[in-house]
Symmetry: C2
Subunit: 118 residues, 2 copies
Protein backbone atom coordinates (compact mmCIF):
# COMPACT_ATOMS: atom_id res chain seq x y z
CA UNK A 1 0.00 0.00 0.00
CA UNK A 2 1.32 3.45 -0.88
CA UNK A 3 2.68 5.46 2.03
CA UNK A 4 0.00 7.96 3.01
CA UNK A 5 0.88 11.15 4.90
CA UNK A 6 -0.43 9.94 8.27
CA UNK A 7 1.56 6.70 8.04
CA UNK A 8 4.69 8.69 7.11
CA UNK A 9 4.16 10.98 10.12
CA UNK A 10 3.64 8.06 12.52
CA UNK A 11 6.65 6.19 11.13
CA UNK A 12 8.85 9.29 11.56
CA UNK A 13 7.67 9.72 15.17
CA UNK A 14 8.13 6.03 16.06
CA UNK A 15 11.73 6.58 17.19
CA UNK A 16 12.73 8.07 20.56
CA UNK A 17 15.75 9.93 19.14
CA UNK A 18 13.61 11.61 16.47
CA UNK A 19 11.05 12.58 19.11
CA UNK A 20 13.90 14.03 21.23
CA UNK A 21 15.06 16.07 18.21
CA UNK A 22 11.51 17.43 17.82
CA UNK A 23 11.38 18.26 21.55
CA UNK A 24 14.64 20.22 21.18
CA UNK A 25 13.29 22.07 18.11
CA UNK A 26 10.05 22.87 19.93
CA UNK A 27 12.01 25.38 22.06
CA UNK A 28 13.67 27.02 19.03
CA UNK A 29 15.66 26.55 15.81
CA UNK A 30 18.90 24.59 15.98
CA UNK A 31 21.72 23.70 13.60
CA UNK A 32 22.71 20.09 12.94
CA UNK A 33 25.74 20.64 15.21
CA UNK A 34 23.59 21.93 18.04
CA UNK A 35 21.20 19.01 17.61
CA UNK A 36 24.03 16.45 17.69
CA UNK A 37 25.59 17.67 21.00
CA UNK A 38 23.04 16.51 23.62
CA UNK A 39 22.68 13.11 21.96
CA UNK A 40 26.41 12.36 21.70
CA UNK A 41 25.61 11.25 18.15
CA UNK A 42 27.66 11.54 14.99
CA UNK A 43 26.62 14.25 12.52
CA UNK A 44 25.73 11.65 9.84
CA UNK A 45 23.45 9.84 12.31
CA UNK A 46 21.68 13.10 13.20
CA UNK A 47 21.42 13.98 9.50
CA UNK A 48 19.76 10.65 8.74
CA UNK A 49 17.17 11.23 11.46
CA UNK A 50 16.60 14.80 10.23
CA UNK A 51 16.06 13.53 6.69
CA UNK A 52 13.26 11.23 7.90
CA UNK A 53 11.69 14.13 9.84
CA UNK A 54 12.01 16.48 6.83
CA UNK A 55 10.47 13.95 4.44
CA UNK A 56 7.50 13.70 6.84
CA UNK A 57 7.22 17.51 6.86
CA UNK A 58 7.91 17.66 10.62
CA UNK A 59 11.12 19.69 10.23
CA UNK A 60 12.12 22.37 7.75
CA UNK A 61 15.23 24.45 7.12
CA UNK A 62 15.21 28.02 8.33
CA UNK A 63 16.15 31.01 6.20
CA UNK A 64 19.65 31.68 7.54
CA UNK A 65 21.49 29.98 4.69
CA UNK A 66 24.94 29.95 6.33
CA UNK A 67 24.02 27.78 9.34
CA UNK A 68 20.94 26.12 7.87
CA UNK A 69 19.13 25.90 11.19
CA UNK A 70 16.28 23.44 11.40
CA UNK A 71 12.92 24.24 12.87
CA UNK A 72 9.75 22.40 13.81
CA UNK A 73 6.87 22.23 11.34
CA UNK A 74 3.79 21.45 13.47
CA UNK A 75 1.21 20.76 10.73
CA UNK A 76 1.65 16.94 10.62
CA UNK A 77 1.33 16.85 14.44
CA UNK A 78 -1.89 18.87 14.20
CA UNK A 79 -3.25 16.41 11.61
CA UNK A 80 -2.33 13.46 13.85
CA UNK A 81 -4.13 15.13 16.78
CA UNK A 82 -7.17 15.54 14.53
CA UNK A 83 -7.12 11.83 13.71
CA UNK A 84 -6.79 10.95 17.44
CA UNK A 85 -9.75 13.17 18.38
CA UNK A 86 -12.14 10.62 16.85
CA UNK A 87 -11.04 8.19 19.61
CA UNK A 88 -11.17 10.67 22.48
CA UNK A 89 -14.67 9.60 23.60
CA UNK A 90 -13.33 6.06 24.16
CA UNK A 91 -10.83 7.05 26.82
CA UNK A 92 -13.20 9.67 28.28
CA UNK A 93 -15.87 6.94 28.69
CA UNK A 94 -13.39 4.66 30.46
CA UNK A 95 -12.43 7.45 32.86
CA UNK A 96 -16.14 8.13 33.52
CA UNK A 97 -16.73 4.46 34.38
CA UNK A 98 -13.65 4.42 36.64
CA UNK A 99 -14.93 7.58 38.34
CA UNK A 100 -18.32 5.97 39.07
CA UNK A 101 -16.58 2.87 40.46
CA UNK A 102 -14.29 4.92 42.73
CA UNK A 103 -17.28 6.89 44.04
CA UNK A 104 -19.04 3.59 44.84
CA UNK A 105 -15.95 2.44 46.77
CA UNK A 106 -15.71 5.73 48.68
CA UNK A 107 -19.39 5.44 49.60
CA UNK A 108 -18.46 2.20 51.31
CA UNK A 109 -20.83 0.29 49.08
CA UNK A 110 -18.87 -2.93 49.42
CA UNK A 111 -21.73 -5.07 48.14
CA UNK A 112 -21.99 -3.20 44.82
CA UNK A 113 -21.31 -5.53 41.88
CA UNK A 114 -17.80 -5.19 40.54
CA UNK A 115 -17.49 -3.86 37.04
CA UNK A 116 -15.19 -6.32 35.30
CA UNK A 117 -14.09 -3.65 32.81
CA UNK A 118 -12.01 -1.84 35.43
CA UNK B 1 17.56 1.55 21.75
CA UNK B 2 14.91 -0.57 23.50
CA UNK B 3 11.39 -0.22 22.16
CA UNK B 4 9.53 2.15 24.47
CA UNK B 5 5.74 2.08 24.73
CA UNK B 6 5.19 5.27 22.72
CA UNK B 7 7.39 4.03 19.86
CA UNK B 8 5.52 0.71 19.89
CA UNK B 9 2.18 2.57 19.71
CA UNK B 10 3.33 4.80 16.85
CA UNK B 11 4.80 1.85 14.95
CA UNK B 12 1.53 -0.09 15.29
CA UNK B 13 -0.48 2.91 14.04
CA UNK B 14 1.84 3.59 11.08
CA UNK B 15 -0.13 1.31 8.77
CA UNK B 16 -3.42 2.27 7.07
CA UNK B 17 -4.91 -1.24 7.39
CA UNK B 18 -4.23 -1.35 11.12
CA UNK B 19 -5.79 2.11 11.52
CA UNK B 20 -8.82 0.86 9.53
CA UNK B 21 -9.12 -2.12 11.91
CA UNK B 22 -9.08 0.29 14.89
CA UNK B 23 -11.73 2.45 13.21
CA UNK B 24 -13.93 -0.64 12.80
CA UNK B 25 -13.39 -1.63 16.45
CA UNK B 26 -14.20 1.90 17.59
CA UNK B 27 -17.87 1.22 16.72
CA UNK B 28 -17.94 -2.11 18.60
CA UNK B 29 -16.33 -5.51 19.18
CA UNK B 30 -15.68 -7.73 16.15
CA UNK B 31 -14.39 -11.24 15.52
CA UNK B 32 -11.41 -11.88 13.26
CA UNK B 33 -13.87 -13.06 10.58
CA UNK B 34 -15.89 -9.87 10.81
CA UNK B 35 -12.72 -7.79 10.64
CA UNK B 36 -11.46 -9.62 7.55
CA UNK B 37 -14.62 -9.11 5.46
CA UNK B 38 -14.49 -5.39 4.57
CA UNK B 39 -10.78 -5.58 3.78
CA UNK B 40 -10.99 -8.60 1.47
CA UNK B 41 -7.97 -9.88 3.38
CA UNK B 42 -6.98 -13.40 4.32
CA UNK B 43 -7.52 -14.43 7.95
CA UNK B 44 -3.76 -14.91 8.52
CA UNK B 45 -3.10 -11.38 7.21
CA UNK B 46 -5.72 -9.91 9.57
CA UNK B 47 -4.32 -12.00 12.43
CA UNK B 48 -0.83 -10.63 11.82
CA UNK B 49 -2.11 -7.05 11.96
CA UNK B 50 -4.14 -7.85 15.10
CA UNK B 51 -1.05 -9.29 16.76
CA UNK B 52 0.84 -6.01 16.21
CA UNK B 53 -2.12 -4.06 17.62
CA UNK B 54 -2.43 -6.41 20.63
CA UNK B 55 1.29 -6.22 21.41
CA UNK B 56 0.92 -2.41 21.43
CA UNK B 57 -2.03 -2.73 23.81
CA UNK B 58 -4.40 -1.10 21.29
CA UNK B 59 -6.64 -4.17 20.94
CA UNK B 60 -7.68 -6.81 23.47
CA UNK B 61 -9.80 -9.95 23.37
CA UNK B 62 -13.31 -9.76 24.74
CA UNK B 63 -14.78 -12.20 27.26
CA UNK B 64 -16.93 -14.33 24.93
CA UNK B 65 -14.48 -17.20 24.62
CA UNK B 66 -16.21 -18.97 21.75
CA UNK B 67 -15.90 -16.18 19.17
CA UNK B 68 -13.00 -14.32 20.80
CA UNK B 69 -14.18 -10.91 19.65
CA UNK B 70 -11.58 -8.13 19.66
CA UNK B 71 -12.18 -4.71 21.06
CA UNK B 72 -10.40 -1.38 21.15
CA UNK B 73 -8.16 -0.50 24.11
CA UNK B 74 -7.93 3.29 24.05
CA UNK B 75 -5.22 3.87 26.69
CA UNK B 76 -2.22 4.00 24.28
CA UNK B 77 -4.15 6.49 22.12
CA UNK B 78 -4.80 8.64 25.20
CA UNK B 79 -1.08 8.57 26.06
CA UNK B 80 -0.18 9.55 22.48
CA UNK B 81 -2.66 12.46 22.68
CA UNK B 82 -0.96 13.52 25.93
CA UNK B 83 2.43 13.55 24.22
CA UNK B 84 1.01 15.58 21.29
CA UNK B 85 -0.51 18.17 23.63
CA UNK B 86 2.97 19.56 24.36
CA UNK B 87 3.12 20.64 20.69
CA UNK B 88 -0.40 22.08 20.49
CA UNK B 89 0.75 25.68 21.07
CA UNK B 90 2.93 25.43 17.94
CA UNK B 91 0.04 24.84 15.56
CA UNK B 92 -2.23 27.19 17.49
CA UNK B 93 0.36 29.98 17.09
CA UNK B 94 0.56 29.35 13.34
CA UNK B 95 -3.23 29.55 13.02
CA UNK B 96 -3.21 32.79 15.03
CA UNK B 97 -0.63 34.34 12.65
CA UNK B 98 -2.63 33.19 9.61
CA UNK B 99 -5.75 34.71 11.15
CA UNK B 100 -4.02 38.10 11.60
CA UNK B 101 -2.80 37.98 8.00
CA UNK B 102 -6.26 37.15 6.61
CA UNK B 103 -7.79 39.99 8.62
CA UNK B 104 -5.19 42.37 7.13
CA UNK B 105 -6.13 41.16 3.65
CA UNK B 106 -9.86 41.59 4.33
CA UNK B 107 -9.20 45.12 5.61
CA UNK B 108 -7.80 45.84 2.13
CA UNK B 109 -4.45 46.69 3.64
CA UNK B 110 -2.60 45.75 0.45
CA UNK B 111 0.58 47.57 1.49
CA UNK B 112 0.98 45.55 4.71
CA UNK B 113 4.28 43.65 4.70
CA UNK B 114 3.84 39.98 3.84
CA UNK B 115 4.66 37.53 6.58
CA UNK B 116 7.01 35.05 4.94
CA UNK B 117 6.05 32.36 7.44
CA UNK B 118 2.63 31.82 5.85
Amino acid sequence: MAADQLSTTLQALADPTRRAILARLSVGEATVNELAQPFAMSLPAVSRHLKVLERAGLVEQGREAQFRPRRLRPEPLRDLAGWLDAYRRHWDERLDRLDVYLKELQAGDADAPRNQDQ
